[in-house]
């Protein structure tokens, strides 16, 4: 029974996510791989459940129970289903399901099988490490999981005791863990962590699919394998912190933003705007996950607007309308979070970027007195942490190689826009560490690596995009490339 209940907390968001995904993709669903759609369904469904839980508590004011949540999901899915039925546009179809067992394993070399086995091992390991061990990490006890437990017992997060534990943090980590306890009908602080390895699995599938749309199976596998090995990312999957969730949502959102640019450059506008819509839905959930999400969302929006401005000659009025829909959706999704208190954070962040912060909020206000060598200290700690610790294997060395030795590819559109996102995200670190409180955390080594993790998926993706096309004439880049019309079954 416990296994069934544990599966339910994955299955319900996945099924609900499929309805939402069908709504977002509509006719362009055939541009996405079957497994990619499943991998998107779970995180989108999970984010949607969090919003439903928030609205049930704050707007409808009814207790959060299994029946109130699943009932709301059912009603919403039924309405979406009717619309989809009319449009005949569900995102997966029988033909795709029949092709599940037709895996593209032709011409697979021994080392590709080895990579596949290693990837499978890593996924099994993260599932094992997550669900066999009960909660052990202090912030999970102190913030997220106690609120989740509170939601299970009180059927709301809106009590003074729980709000004290929530502070001013966004609600997705609290409510998603609360959903896990409610879905399992018990407090099992080992099994509820199944959410995170499932997100990890989804991340690998999304990452692979995004690469596979343009590159060979071999190269897509190599870079997906590299992503799956990052020790600090893998370690965080087994914890109940918000950092990996942030890394997932922001990483996936940015990958789809780049896919939008690539499709748009290739004049495949239908595909482009579906990618953009998915990107901004995922980005909205990043805002719901951690305070820094709002900064990263700002970065992505800024870079998107820059891209649209640079490409204004190619853009028609209809394109602008299509680009506005994802942005509109994004704002609709984050409005509850902004009204809930994140608007203050946004103001503080803007003030601190403009250098007029008053130090009122530890998250983003700059220190009144900055030691002259503060940037130097940040840079020195950053270099040490990125290069001499075991967190990221050789990712940062690979990034530098991509930038310097494959500079032509790195500085070409649309990859240069991804580079701009990375640059702005790193810059945001300097702004954040400009505050007294954050600077202290930098010195005692508690936060830098976790903040870096938010865009580590993007760095890996950037390396793949810069390196793979440059290896075109190398035997390593051989193998079958999917034809644009026959993308399924890979």
């Amino acid at each position: 029974m416990q296994i069934l209940n544990t599966l339910i907390i994955i299955l319900i968001p996945s099924i609900f996510g499929l309805f939402l995904l069908s709504l977002f993709m509509q006719k362009s669903a055939n541009r996405f791989y079957f497994w990619e759609k499943l991998a998107l369904a779970f995180p989108i469904g999970l984010g949607a459940i969090v919003i439903v839980m928030f609205l049930l508590t704050k707007l409808v004011k009814i207790p959060l129970t299994f029946f109130s949540i699943t009932g709301s999901l059912f009603v919403t899915a039924a309405i979406i289903g009717l619309y989809l039925l009319k449009k005949k546009a569900f995102c997966i179809n029988l033909a795709e399901i029949k092709k599940i067992n037709k895996f593209d394993h032709q011409n697979m070399a021994w080392w590709e099988y080895s990579l596949a086995i290693l990837l499978a091992f890593k996924v099994i390991y993260v599932y094992f490490a997550s669900i066999v061990k009960p909660l052990i990490d202090v912030d999970a006890f102190l913030y997220y999981s106690i609120v989740a437990k509170g939601i299970f017992f009180e059927k709301t997060f809106n009590t003074p005791y729980l709000l004290k534990h929530i502070h001013d943090k966004p609600l997705l980590p609290y409510l998603s863990q609360g959903w896990a306890f409610i879905g399992m009908h018990t407090i099992n602080d080992a099994l509820f962590k199944i959410l995170f390895p499932t997100l990890f699995l989804c991340l690998l599938v999304i990452f692979y699919s995004a690469l596979r749309k343009y590159y060979t199976r071999r190269m897509s596998m190599i870079f997906t394998f590299l992503l799956s090995t990052l020790p600090f990312l893998v370690f965080h999957v087994a914890t109940a912190y918000g950092d990996f969730t942030m890394s997932f949502y922001y990483g996936a959102a940015t990958i789809y933003l780049l896919l939008f640019m690539k499709s748009f450059n290739a004049s495949d506008k239908e595909s482009a705007f579906s990618n953009l819509l998915i990107s901004f839905v995922l980005l909205a959930f990043a805002v719901w996950t951690k305070r820094a999400g709002i900064v990263y969302a700002g970065t992505n929006i800024f870079v998107l607007l820059t891209y649209l401005t640079v490409n204004k000659n190619k853009i028609t009025g209809s394109d602008l309308l299509h680009a506005a829909i994802p942005l509109f959706n994004f704002f609709i999704l984050i409005i509850p979070m902004l009204l809930y208190g994140q608007f203050n954070i946004l103001i503080v962040i803007i003030r601190s970027i403009l250098g007029i912060g008053n130090g009122g909020a530890s998250a983003a206000a700059p220190a009144k007195i900055l030691p002259p060598n503060k940037a130097g200290i940040i840079f020195s700690i950053m270099a040490k942490k990125l290069f001499l610790y075991a967190d990221w294997h050789l990712l940062w060395a690979l990034f530098i190689v991509s930038l310097v030795l494959f500079y032509r590819r790195s500085l070409r559109s649309p990859l240069v826009f991804l580079l701009a996102i990375i640059f702005l995200d790193v810059l945001a670190l300097f702004v954040q560490f400009g505050t007294v409180e954050m600077f202290r955390w930098l010195l005692d080594g508690t936060i830098f690596d976790r903040l870096t993790m938010a865009y580590i998926v993007i760095i890996t993706y950037f390396c793949a995009e810069a390196i793979i096309p440059s290896l075109k004439d190398n035997s390593l880049a051989g193998g079958t490339r999917p034809s644009p019309k026959n993308k399924k079954g890979s």
């Binding site: 066999v132 437990k149 610790y389 050789l394 494959f406 080594g445 830098f448 390593l476």
Partner: protein, 334 residues
């Protein structure tokens, strides 16, 4: 002939007879978990390697501290850590290569094993190291606890394994640098030989391809190392398989902390509040989580005390109510 000389030098170096060696005796210290050496007076420059033969019934981490003529007592700055394996094994610690504070006259050593089991030092000596002992010391340092044993701080950062006191990444970056220089030099020579125009910017992507392959190969080796760490942590978690959640919580917490929490849950009404005096690190936070829906509140209706001396002042407010064992109680507000 020169080959034979070189070979002889190599063999002699490997088999270099240790000139300086001093046996050390370690004594257990009453009521303390560590062992201490008899008083020494050795020049750290001459005696740089500690060789310990240890018999243990469990594997685990240990720290070796030392005392110099400048110190009044042992301190955290002067220690190296290593892994003790189950069975009888020899451990070579070339200390100056791992910690720069091995200086002056060495007055004493202290071995602090962090193992829940029995350990015995079969023999101990301090010697002048040679190539052979240095290689073993480096090997054992690489496979030591740094970067392998998960600690509370792993949630914030992951240390890398060290080799002779430096992160292995230092050696890796030097290797990659030399590969890069070698590749670019080779490309330049080939271009000049073929009488082609030398365009360095054109060479970069060509060199980059090979450098990427080198990075991926080294990355794979690093991953093999990580997989061995993953396997070790998985083995430690095997004990949790098949246990229910309360049994698991009992295992992952120290001592009888979780049974005490269950005792509190049974005895404190769910709709009440509690305050706590619970060491060590973070156990108070865990208690707040585990005991919920009993809410943690300063000056709450109940006071939970676990292995901590409490202020007599508290007895003015609280009265002893339930006893779990000596040192673990629940007090109730008067």
């Amino acid at each position: 002939m020169p080959k034979r000389i070189l070979f002889s030098i190599l063999v002699l170096t490997l088999l270099q007879i240790t000139v300086l060696a001093k046996n050390i005796t370690f004594h257990p210290v009453p009521n303390q978990p560590y062992l201490q050496s008899s008083q020494l007076m050795l020049d750290s420059e001459e005696y740089n390697t500690v060789v310990l033969k240890i018999k243990a019934n469990k594997s685990g981490q240990a720290n070796l501290f030392w005392l110099t003529s400048y110190d009044k007592g042992f301190d955290q700055r002067k220690n190296v850590q290593f892994l003790i394996k189950k069975g009888e094994k020899s451990y070579y610690l070339n200390i100056p290569s791992q910690n720069p504070n091995w200086i002056g006259w060495i007055k004493g050593l202290l071995l602090f094993p962090q193992i829940n089991g029995k350990i015995e030092i079969s023999s101990a000596e301090i010697i002048e190291g040679n190539l052979f002992t240095n290689i073993i010391s480096g090997w054992q340092e690489f496979w030591g606890p740094r970067g392998r044993v998960e600690t509370g701080s792993t949630i914030n950062t992951m240390q890398s394994s060290n080799l002779y006191g430096r992160s292995v990444f230092v050696y890796i970056y030097w290797t990659l640098f030399f590969i890069f220089i070698g590749l670019i030099t080779w490309k330049i020579i080939v271009t000049i030989k073929n009488n082609k125009n030398l365009d360095l910017l054109e060479l970069l992507p060509e060199v980059g391809k090979k450098l990427v392959i080198a990075i991926i190969i080294i990355w794979a080796l690093l991953e093999a190392n990580t997989l061995s760490n993953n396997w070790n942590s998985t083995k430690q978690d095997f004990i949790l398989i098949g246990k229910n959640i309360n049994e698991k919580r009992t295992i992952i917490n120290t001592g009888d902390f979780y049974p005490f929490i269950q005792f509190c849950k049974e005895n404190i009404p769910a709709d009440s509040t509690f305050d706590s005096r619970i060491p060590p690190f973070y156990n108070d936070i865990k208690a707040t989580y585990y005991l919920y829906p009993i809410k943690h509140e300063k000056g709450g209706e109940f006071l939970v005390i676990y292995d901590k001396q409490f202020e007599n002042e508290l007895l003015k407010t609280y009265t002893p109510w339930k006893k779990f064992r000596n040192g673990a109680y629940i007090l109730r507000k008067k």
